[in-house]
Amino acid sequence: MQLRLKISQTGLLLAVSLILSYIESVLPFNFGIPGMKLGLPNLAIVLALYLFGWKEALLINISRIVLSGFMFGNLAGILFSLAGASVSFIFMQAAKKSKWFSAGGVSIIGGVMHNAGQLLIAVLVVNTVGILYYLPILLIAGMITGGLIGIIAMKTIPYLRKLVYEPGKETDYE
């Protein structure tokens, strides 16, 4: 019973993240800077991180990128997203583990690191350091989008916690 519940809830969050990926691919939020993204799907990843744990969050993250990449993007896009997402995921998990930050702070770190990671990959691909010119803009953009998503996550986690009740889990999102 427990396992079935977990599978269905993980699947549900994966569906949410795919919908958010779709919304992001439709919204014209692109100032032509490589690596700049609204990062809506990160909401599902932050939720998964707090509701389930890092293994489930990683699973959702990877499946989300591959599936949404085939549906709304291309192979190169998948590789770039994978790079940005893994950098951001590692830092988010580390930030959560440190227990210094709230879900908002974790989400900010995720957004900033996603942008920074993708820009660094872009530097490697085009072999030109000069495009680091856009790093400050990307840092600020990642902070704002990450912060907004973090606020949404902090507001929703208490309600979702009631559905994914596990005794002994602390309120660690504030």
Partner: protein, 138 residues
């Protein structure tokens, strides 16, 4: 656990304690470092040349004062149409899948660049004589 929940409800006194304060510190650190990077990297002087870099190697360089249209061909089959007019330049057309380079719009200041990732192509604005190319990674 119950106690913590009760504490949470008693008002605004807790808003900037503990984790929230760490969040605030994080925001300040990111803003300050972005500001410093901006000062370091982005000096808003007008550029003079548009340099075409493919895989980090300079292949062409144009004077921004002369209006012209140029088609760049890359090894992996890429075709990008670069337009220079009135001291600015922009990517008019590209056969890459995402067209981010076209959406990047018009650039004119030193250090700005148009990037076409699928074609490993960068158009970079440089300022006149002192530094032709800021830095190139091998």
């Amino acid at each position: 656990m119950k106690n913590r929940n009760e504490k949470k409800n008693d008002g605004k006194s807790e808003t900037f304690c503990g984790r929230r304060r760490a969040d605030l510190v994080l925001i300040i650190i990111i803003t300050v470092s972005a500001f410093f990077l901006m000062l370091l990297l982005q000096r808003g002087t007008k550029g003079e040349r548009a340099v075409v870099l493919i895989d980090g190697k300079e292949t062409e360089s144009f004077d921004l004062a002369q209006d012209r249209t140029f088609t760049i061909s890359t090894e992996n089959g890429g075709k990008n149409v670069l337009v220079i007019s009135n001291g600015t330049c922009y990517m008019k057309e590209s056969n890459c899948p995402d067209h981010i380079c076209v959406k990047e719009g018009v650039i004119s200041r030193k250090g700005q660049s148009i990037i076409c990732l699928p074609h490993h192509l960068v158009i970079q604005i440089t300022g006149g004589r002192d530094n032709e190319i800021d830095a190139t990674v091998r």
